[in-house]
C-alpha cells in the first residue's frame, strides 16, 4: 500500500540533497573541528558555508549569533531559563509574558521558572486564534516584563502570529522578545532584519533537514548564559562537540527551504486548499482558523460525530498519516491547551485532526488522501450514535 505522509508539522522527510551533503562527514571528514590537525580543520570550510546559509536564510547580520544546538526545544529552554537567571533571579525584572497556545517546550520551561519565582502571564488568543498587539501592549511593562515569548506559527492550527508587530512593540518598550519559529521556517519568510526579535529558535527536521539539530538566533548585544557548560564551541554559548554532519545538513536544508518559499506559497498552498475544499464538502466538517491566516501547509479539521483518535487510527489503516491533538490520544489525557485556549467545545476539541503537507506532497497523494478520509469518515459515522447507518438485526 502506498502511504501518504500528512504529518509534516511533526517532522519531515530529509531532502535527498541534504542527505547527500551530510554523507562525507560520517566516514571521510569525521574530524573534531576543535582539533588542531588537518582532520579537524578540513571541515571548517563546510561549517562556514553552513553558517552562511543559516544567516542568509533568516537574514541575520554578521554581528548576530546563530548557534548550533540540538533542537528548538533546547533553544527555547536556553532563552527562558537564561532570562530567568539573568533578569528575574537577580530581581531586575519579574515577569515572562507568553501565550496559552505555546508548544510544551515553551509552556513547560515557563512553568519551571515559575517554580523558581518568576511570574508567568499566559495571554489568551482572540477569535482568530492569535494574540494581537493591542492585547500584548496591555500586558507588558518595562519595569516588570523580562521577556515576551510568542510562537511565530502554531503547530496545531498553523495560525501565524503577527511577530513583526509584536516584536516592534517590545523593542519600543525595551523588552526582550523571543519567538519559537519552528513552524515558520520554510513555510513563510522569516527575516530578523525586518522583525526585531531578540531570540529565535528553529529545528532542522521541520524543514527537510536531519533530526537532532537546531539553531538559536541571538541578536547582537543580547546576553544569554549557556544552558550547557563545557568547551569553547559556539563561542562558549553552547558547549559540546559540534554535530558537523547535522550543521552541514541544516545549512543546506535552510537554503533549499528558503529557495522553495515561492513553491510553498503557491503549489503547497494549492494542494492544501484542494484537500481543504474536498474536506469541507463533506457534511459536518469544519476547519479551524481562517485560511489566509495560516501557514500554507496546515489544516486542523473537526469532523462532527467522529472522534479524533478513531479517525487517525482508521486513516492509518488506509495508509494516510495524520495527527490528533485530541485529549484521548495523548499520554496525559489532558485536553489540548490550544483547543482550550481557542474556546472550542469539548466535542470539537475531541474531534481535531491535523493534516500537514510539505513540498514533497504530490497531487496524487492528495487525491488518495481525500478518498481515504471520505471512506473513514463514512465508516466511523456508522459507528457513532450521531450516525444514521443501520446495524445488525434490521
Amino acid at each position: 500500500m502506498e502511504r501518504v505522509y500528512l504529518d509534516n508539522n511533526a517532522t519531515t522527510i530529509v531532502d535527498p540533497l541534504v542527505r547527500e551533503a551530510m554523507g562525507p562527514f560520517a566516514c571521510e571528514m569525521y574530524g573534531n573541528p576543535n582539533s588542531l590537525h588537518d582532520f579537524g580543520t578540513e571541515v571548517h570550510p563546510f561549517m562556514r558555508l553552513a553558517f552562511d546559509r543559516l544567516y542568509a536564510g533568516i537574514n541575520a547580520g554578521e554581528r548576530d549569533d546563530i548557534f548550533l544546538n540540538g533542537c528548538a526545544t533546547e533553544g527555547n529552554n536556553t532563552v527562558i531559563k537564561g532570562v530567568w537567571y539573568e533578569l528575574i533571579r537577580t530581581g531586575r525584572r519579574s515577569e515572562i509574558v507568553t501565550t496559552q497556545v505555546e508548544h510544551p517546550c515553551v509552556a513547560n520551561a515557563c512553568s519551571f521558572v515559575e517554580t523558581l519565582g518568576a511570574k508567568v502571564v499566559r495571554l489568551p488568543v482572540n477569535a482568530d486564534g492569535i494574540v494581537d498587539a493591542d492585547l500584548l501592549a496591555r500586558h507588558i511593562h518595562p519595569d516588570r516584563t523580562a521577556l515576551v515569548s510568542i510562537m511565530w506559527a502554531n503547530n496545531e492550527t498553523g495560525l501565524v502570529f503577527p511577530i513583526r508587530e509584536l516584536a516592534r512593540l517590545c523593542r519600543e518598550r525595551g523588552i526582550l522578545f523571543h519567538t519559537d519559529a519552528v513552524q515558520a521556517i520554510g513555510k513563510l519568510p522569516v527575516d530578523v532584519s525586518d522583525a526585531p526579535v531578540d531570540y529565535l529558535s528553529f529545528s532542522a527536521h521541520k524543514f527537510h533537514g536531519p533530526k537532532g539539530v537546531g539553531g538559536l538566533f541571538v541578536r547582537e548585544g543580547r546576553s544569554l548564559p549557556p544552558l550547557l557548560h563545557g568547551g569553547e564551541q559556539m563561542g562558549g554559548r553552547r558547549a559540546g562537540t559540534v554535530n558537523v554532519a547535522g550543521l552541514v545538513g541544516m545549512g543546506l536544508a535552510m537554503e533549499l527551504a528558503v529557495r522553495n518559499l515561492g513553491y510553498e506559497a503557491t503549489e503547497v498552498r494549492r494542494l492544501r486548499d484542494r484537500l481543504e475544499d474536498a474536506l469541507l464538502a463533506i457534511d459536518g466538517v469544519s476547519v479551524i482558523g481562517r485560511r489566509e491566516l495560516r501557514t500554507p501547509n496546515t489544516i486542523l479539521m473537526s469532523v462532527e460525530g467522529v472522534e479524533g483518535e478513531a479517525l487517525i487510527w482508521d486513516l492509518n489503516r488506509g495508509g494516510v498519516a495524520a495527527s490528533t491533538g485530541s485529549a484521548c490520544a495523548s499520554e496525559s489525557l489532558e485536553p489540548n491547551p490550544t483547543f482550550v485556549a481557542m474556546c472550542l467545545s469539548p466535542e470539537l476539541a475531541h474531534t481535531g485532526v491535523r493534516l500537514s503537507l510539505s513540498r514533497f506532497t504530490t497531487e496524487e497523494e492528495i487525491g488518495r488522501a481525500i478518498e481515504v478520509i471520505r471512506g473513514s469518515v463514512e465508516r466511523l459515522r456508522r459507528i457513532s450514535p450521531a450516525g444514521s447507518g443501520t446495524g445488525k438485526g434490521t
Binding site: E307, A329, S332, E347, I383
Partner: protein
Amino acid sequence: MAKNDLIGGTLWETYSRKVNDRMTNPRHLGEISEERAAELGARLVVADWGAEVCGDAIRAWWAVDPKSNRILDATFRTFGCGTAIASSDMMCELCIGRTVDEVLKITNIDVEKALRDEADKAAIPPQKMHCSVMAYDVIRKAASLYKGVDMDSLEEEEIVCQCARVSLRTIRDVIRINDLTTVEDITRFTKAGAFCKSCIRPGGHESRSHYLVDILRDVRAEMDRERAKAVAEKPRTFAEMSLIQRHRIVEQVLDEKVRPSLLKDGGNLEVVDMKEADGRTEVHISYQGACRGCPSAATGTLALIEEALRKDLDPDILVVQV
C-alpha cells in the same frame, strides 16, 4: 524511568490484537429496531451515556426477554476512540445471553480482561482504561431503565477510582491495615490512580467527589488522633518515663500536695536535680524562704515530701536535701 520508557512509543502499539480487531470490525455495531425486538418477543431498552469531559458518548440497545430478564441481543454505537469502540463491542458480547442482574456484575475490568490476547497482559495502556469505563456505565444505565429504578441505587459502593473500580471503603481499609503514608503506596496496593489518574488529586482529566490525596490525609489524621488518644489513655509507670517527664510530674505533685503548705509558713522548695541511682529516682531539693533553717526541714518535712511523691508516683523515690 527505565530503559523501556525511553522510546515512549504510541498508544496503539500497546493495544491487543482483539482491541485492534474490534475497533476495525465491531461485531455488535448498530441498533435493534422495535420490529426486531418484537420478533424476539423482547422488550427494547435504549440507553445513552456520555463522558462529559471527553465528549465521548455511547448508545446501547438491549432486547430483553421480560419473563427471564435475559438479554437476547445487544448492540451499540459509540462516539469515542478505538478503546471506547472495542470496549463497547465487548460489553455487548458479554451482555448477550445473561440476565440483567448478572450483567450488573460486569465491570470495565471484565471488559478489559475479555479484550486481552494473553491472560496476564493488559489489552490497553493504563491511561486508556478510562475510555473503557463508559461501557460499564451504560450497562448500569440500561439496567436502571429496564428495572425502572434510579441508576445510583445500582451502585453498591462508593467508587473512587473508576478505571480500577476501587471503592472508598477499600482505600480507607488498605491505608489503615498497611499503615500507608503516600498516594503511590495506595496505587501500589490497590491500583487506584494507576490509570487515568483523575482520582489522585483535583485538576486531572475529570473532576471527582473523592481524591486519593484527601482520603489519605483524612485517614492519616484519624489514625493520628486515635493513636494520640490511645497514648493519652495508657497508664504509664513512673519508671518508664524519661527523666524530663519524671521531673514534670514531680513538679506537678509538689505544686498540688506540698508547696501550698510550705508557702503558708513562708517557705518553699526548688527541685535542683533529678538522678537515677540503683534503680531509684533521686529528687534533689533545696529549701527556700522560712524552710531554710527550719528544724524539721531535714527530718519530718523531708519525710512528708518523700511520702507524697512515693504515694502518688513511685515507692522508689528518694528525696535528698542539698
